[in-house]
Each structure stands twice: as C-alpha cells, then as structure tokens.
Symmetry: C2
Subunit: 407 residues, 2 copies
C-alpha cells in the first residue's frame, strides 16, 4: 500500500503543476489547466477499465462497473460515490480536494480484480472553492439539483459552453437512485490530528457558519489635534470589538470566530480612522450556539459603538446550517479505521466541503487525513505517505463493510 500511496502523492504533485499561474498552483472552474487535469486522470481511469465522462457542470466522472476477471459478473445494483474537488484557491497546495479524487482512483486500482458488489463512481468536482464566480460548490450542487437558473445564466453558463459543454444538460448530472453512499477523503486543513499524533479523523459533522461584514463609521480627524476624549475613532472601536470576538470564542467550546479582513478609511498614519469594515467568520457544530454567539457579538458591537458615538452597520453574507454526516456510514468508517488498526478521533469539520452539499440527499461520510503543520491553502500544504496509505487501507475496508451492510 505504501507504493500506491507514494504514487498518489506524486500524482497530486504533478497535477499541481497544471495551473493558471506559472510558479504557483491556481486552477479555477473550467480553466484551461483543468482540461489537462481531466486528461491525465481520464488516461489513468480508462487504463483501469473505468468509463469516463465529463458532465455538463464540468465534473469528471469515472465509473467502475465491469470486473473482467470475475466470471459470474452482474451489474451492481448499488452505487458508492467517492468524490472531492479538482479546483483550487489561488496559490494553493497540491492536496486540498484533488487528493480525495486521486485516492478514489487509487482505490479502484487497489481493488485490482476484486469485485465487491458495489458500483464505484469516482467524481472530481469542477468547483468547490468559489474563487471564479464567488459562488462555491458549483460541481456538487449539480448532483443535487440546486444550481439555479440565475447562476447558470450568469458567467457560469458561459464558462460551461466555453469548455465545450452544454448547460442544458446539467439535469443529467443528477444523482442516480442507485446511489447508496458518498465518501470523501480530504486533508484536515487544521492542526488537530497532528496535535493528537493521529493519521486519520472521522468527520461527525460540518460546522454551520455565518459570515458578516461589520462596518464601524466614526469621524476621520487629525491625529495630532483631536484630544482623545473628543474622538470617534473607528479603528479603536473595531479593535475593542475584535477583542470581544476572540474572548467569546475562547470561552465557548467548539466555537471558532475570526476577523480575518479589515479595511480602513482613510487609512493614513496621521488621520484618525473614519470608517472600518471588519469581517466576522463564526462557526460551530450546533446552529443554536452559533446563532447565540452571533447575537452576543452583535450586541457587543452595538454597545461599543453607542458608547463611542460610532454608527454600526451589519451585513450578513453567509448563513449556513451545520450538516451531520450519516451515522450509519460514519459507523462503518469508524469500524474500518479500527479494523485497520488506527486510533479513532471523531472531528467536526470547521471547513465546508462537497460532502455538506451531498449529505442531505445521500448518506455521506468523510475521512480526514492529518495536515502537517495544520497548513492548507498554501504551497506548503502536504500529506504524510503513511497517512495516505492508511486512508487507502481504510477505504478498501470501508468498501467491503458497505458491501456487506446491505444498505
């Protein structure tokens, strides 16, 4: 399994050279380098006897349905999807998303002439990161029928046609009724597994998240001539509130809350800030905890602003409920990890994933691989060969457990 794991990693690293930006890895929805990725993976899948197509949302799909060496072959009546995404953020690493697709193909290769009674479909989603159109999950949303007409009629439809596909065929990309499960491998993108010394983590749920913009409007004024008590300093107000954000998240188990972006006007050394826009990204596995925390932080901001003579505006930009993975499939995955001899750690995903889109429609499970240094969305993103081998081993065991489970 170690040799195959090494090939998986080498494959991901090679595919990372297919980029819109020479010298770094940037591959957005249906860009030219995405064609090269499709071509490379198609060659591999066809060599394994898979039937390969690209659906109208630009998802690369490979189906293993024949098992030439099995004498009494019959078409499997149940389908397992193994999927993740092929697009990247700008200046990305080599593993976020695409590792889950390459692992799916490697599992088909590892099965060799074994023929579990499951149709395996490996999917490389065209779009998860939301870089090109500011809208994430275009690939997986096509499978569950939630790509709306307004989106398709926008630049997305144009990009689909430019890629040689027909947006009118998007309904054909829908999940088929024989689909009984969805499995996604993904790097953790966080430091938890590494801090525990565990190679794998079993995802229980994907945290709900809200994203907002808080705008603090004070009064720009001269930094030298305006006494402290006569200021309406938007930076000072925002800074006080950012302290509240950090403190509340620190005191609320499972809550993460982040101000990651700040813009200031006029943003001059010698001028008191008149306006600050500060973002809030807040996530928790329980929607009610997230909503209560958001209310509390809004109240904090209001109180800070009232005391300082500052005007507050709040704009919600994302409000996404938590999504649980399927308990039965997650149980099978836990069994597979145990059978393979690895320690069990159940984890909440703080990041959104395609599994979140699929889970309301098909039983879904997710396996995280340890992220060295917790690094992701960065060229330094990496995986450990032994962890990839562990994931392959667990994947094989999961396939047989699912086959036996008569779901």
């Amino acid at each position: 399994m170690k040799t195959l794991a090494e090939r998986v990693i080498a494959c991901c690293r090679e595919l990372a050279t297919f980029t819109e930006e020479p010298g770094s890895t940037t591959r957005t929805f249906l860009s030219l380098p995405m064609q090269d990725v499709h071509h490379a993976l198609r060659v591999w899948m066809e060599r394994l006897g898979m039937r390969v197509s690209v659906d109208a949302a630009g998802n690369l799909r490979g189906i293993r349905r024949l098992c030439a060496s099995r004498k009494n072959y019959r078409q499997a009546s149940r389908r397992l999807l193994i999927a993740s995404h092929l697009d990247t953020v700008p200046n990305a690493g080599a593993f976020d998303g695409i590792l889950g697709v390459v692992l799916g193909i490697a599992l088909v290769e590892a099965l060799a002439d074994q023929c579990p009674d499951l149709m395996l479909e490996v999917i490389g989603f065209s779009e998860e990161e939301g870089v090109k159109f500011g809208v994430p999950f275009i690939g997986s949303r096509a499978l569950v029928g939630t790509l709306d007409h307004a989106l398709i009629n926008s630049g997305v439809g144009h990009a689909i046609r430019a890629f040689g596909l027909d947006p009118a065929d998007i309904p054909k990309a829908r999940l088929t009724p024989d689909t009984i499960g969805y499995l996604e491998f993904h790097i953790e993108q966080g430091p938890v597994l590494e801090s525990l010394g565990f190679p794998l983590g079993i995802v229980d749920a994907i945290a709900g998240q809200s994203r907002l913009m808080f705008t603090f409007t004070g009064a720009a004024n001269h930094a030298g001539t305006t006494p402290m008590n006569l200021r309406r300093d938007a930076i000072a107000a925002a800074a006080e509130w950012i302290g509240c954000v950090e403190a509340l998240a620190g005191n609320t188990p499972g809550l993460v809350a982040t101000t990651g972006s700040i813009s200031v006007e006029p943003n001059a050394t010698n001028v008191i800030a008149g306006l600050v826009r500060a973002t809030l990204d807040i996530r928790h596995p329980l929607d009610e905890t997230r909503e209560a925390a958001l209310n509390q932080l809004t109240t904090s901001a209001e109180q800070i602003c009232q005391r300082r003579g500052i005007t507050l505006a709040r704009e919600q930009r994302l409000n996404q409920a938590a999504v649980s993975m399927n308990p039965h499939l997650t149980g099978l995955l836990t069994q597979a990890v145990t059978d393979a001899g690895f320690p069990i750690h159940r984890i909440i995903s703080g990041a959104g994933h395609d599994a979140m889109i699929i889970a309301p429609h098909v039983p879904a499970a997710m396996l995280f691989l340890r992220s060295p240094g917790g690094v992701s969305h960065h060229p330094d993103e990496s995986v450990i060969t032994e962890d990839v081998a562990a994931a392959l081993e667990v994947g094989l065991k999961f396939i047989y457990l699912l086959e036996a489970a008569h779901v």
Copy 2:
C-alpha cells in the same frame, strides 16, 4: 474689519479653485495651479505697494518697505515675517495654510498709510504638507538652510527648475539678520477652541511626535479548522495592542496616540490573519513624556506578541522633538488678544507647522483660529467671519506691540 475678513474668506475660497483635480482642492509643490495662486496674490500685494518675488524654493515673498504717505520715512531696521503655506493635501479645504498668507496681506492692507517701524514680509511657503515628495516643510526649510543637497538633487530640484527657478539660488532664500520675529496664523484643525467657544488660541508649543510602523507576524491559517487555542492571529494581537494605545493616551494628560492605518495579509474573511502592519502616531508637548509612552507601548506590544507566539517588528519613521514658541513674542500676542477683548486660551499644537521649522532660528509666535466642527484636510473645512476679523484686529495690535517692544 468685518468687510476685510469677508474679503479674506472670499479670497481663500477663490484660491481653492486653483487645483490639480477639478472639483476638489489639491495643490502640491510647484504645481501649475500654484502659479495661478502666486499670480493672484502678487497682483494684490503689488497693488498695496509691496515688492514681490519668488525665491528659489518656490516661496512667494512680498515686502512692505515703503510708506509713501509718511513724510519722514526711513527704512525699517527690523523685519517681521508673517507666513504660512500655499500647498494643500489632496481633496483639501480652503483655509489650511493659505489663510495665514492671505491674512498677512490683509494686515498690510489694513495698515493703509500707518507706518510702524517694522519691515513686514509676507511669505507663502511653497510646501508644508509633504504630499508630492513625502518630505514636508520644503518651503520653510529653505529659509533656515536645512534643505539638504540630496533632497535638492532629487525630484525637488527638478520641480524647481520646471517652475522656472534655479536650485542654485536656494541659499539666497535664507532668513536675513534683520528678522526679529515670525508670526503664523493658522486654523486650529481641532475641536478645542470650538468646544470652549473661543475664537482664537495662542500656541505655546508644537507637540513633538513620533511615527512608527508596528508589524505583527503570526500565522495565516484556516478560520474554520484552526481551534482558538492553536492560533497565532495577527489581527487579534494588533487589536489588543490598539486597546493599549488608546488606554495609555486616555490616561496621560496631553498625550494623543493613534493607530490610523492598518494593513492585513492575506486579508480574507475565512483566513486567520498572518500579518498586520499597524501605524502609531504619538504626540506630546513634553518629549520625555512622549518617549516614555512610546517605550511603554513598545513593551505592551512585545508582551502581547510573546504571549501569542507572534513576531514583532518596529520601525521608526519620524521622531520630531517638541518646539516651543518664543515666550516674549507669545506674551505680546497674548497682550494683543487681551487688548482686542477676546478670551485667552493657550494651546499646544498637535499638528506640525512651518513655525516649528522657523522657531529654532527666529522668535516665533502662532495664533490659531477656531475650526468649526474641528474639521480640516477636508472640503468642509471652514472659518467664521468674526474669528477672521478677530485675528486681523489681534494682528494689527501685535504689530504695534512688537514695534514698541524694541526687540
């Protein structure tokens, strides 16, 4: 005096239309609209019998030395400079700087055929704001001989030649030995006089100031997958420190300290900030108090960063000692304000002014005019007609007090 005050204001408003940016007032060092300002003021000064020239640093200089109506006229042996600057910040108001020049000319007009035994020289400095070359006080520094060769040989010299002047003549712009005083009228650019209900303020000193850049380097990471206790969040660190800046200034009389500019990397909603650059502008009339405060804020930043696993870098960009106005001249100015029937308020200027450059070389005094709303460096900048009339009245009394003082 009210009619003359109204003309002063109308003149400033008209000169504000001489701009590099149609629709707003922007007039940098030796720009084309500066020529128009020179022309307009030259016409007025020559009508008053003044001898007008432009020195090699681009300063407009008008000398009243003849007093035709006085029978026994003799050349005055002592010279009083009345000066301020003609350049502006981008999108400026109509009064910052130029009001002090127009008031100087208006005082010559108000003297009419009165002949105090003082040579009056009105100077419109070419550059105070530092917009064009990032170097302030080019005009006044020519008078005291601190324009260094490196600066002149840079773009400044080129701009001087383009304006039809010869940088080699800059030494001729130096102060003459007969100069016994310097008087600068300027808008307060702050809310203090307005909050007191006073038209005028007598400047005791110009606060010393330091400007620094503090850089907080943490680790950019995923906002959803990085637990609060494993973060090295540069925004959270900077926000905590900004709270210290505000608190220390609030508790230290006379201290103003401002973070006016923040830049964040990567500055994305869903990414913990890896790097924040935050400026510090800190001012106090006592240099030792400013330096102690700066040391304390540096220590605070170091402690915050150490606790959070953040790297701190500190870069000093300006370190300017406080400058006192001349006590004798300031005493005469106080007497003039009292004689004119206005209340006395001694004030520390938090902003730098040309008087700060001149004061170490010639006795200098400064009179502030109330800034409605405390607004400056903004198109809404204004002055009150009665305050301008008050300044004219005080200016005339000051001239006679200085004449009588035998300085």
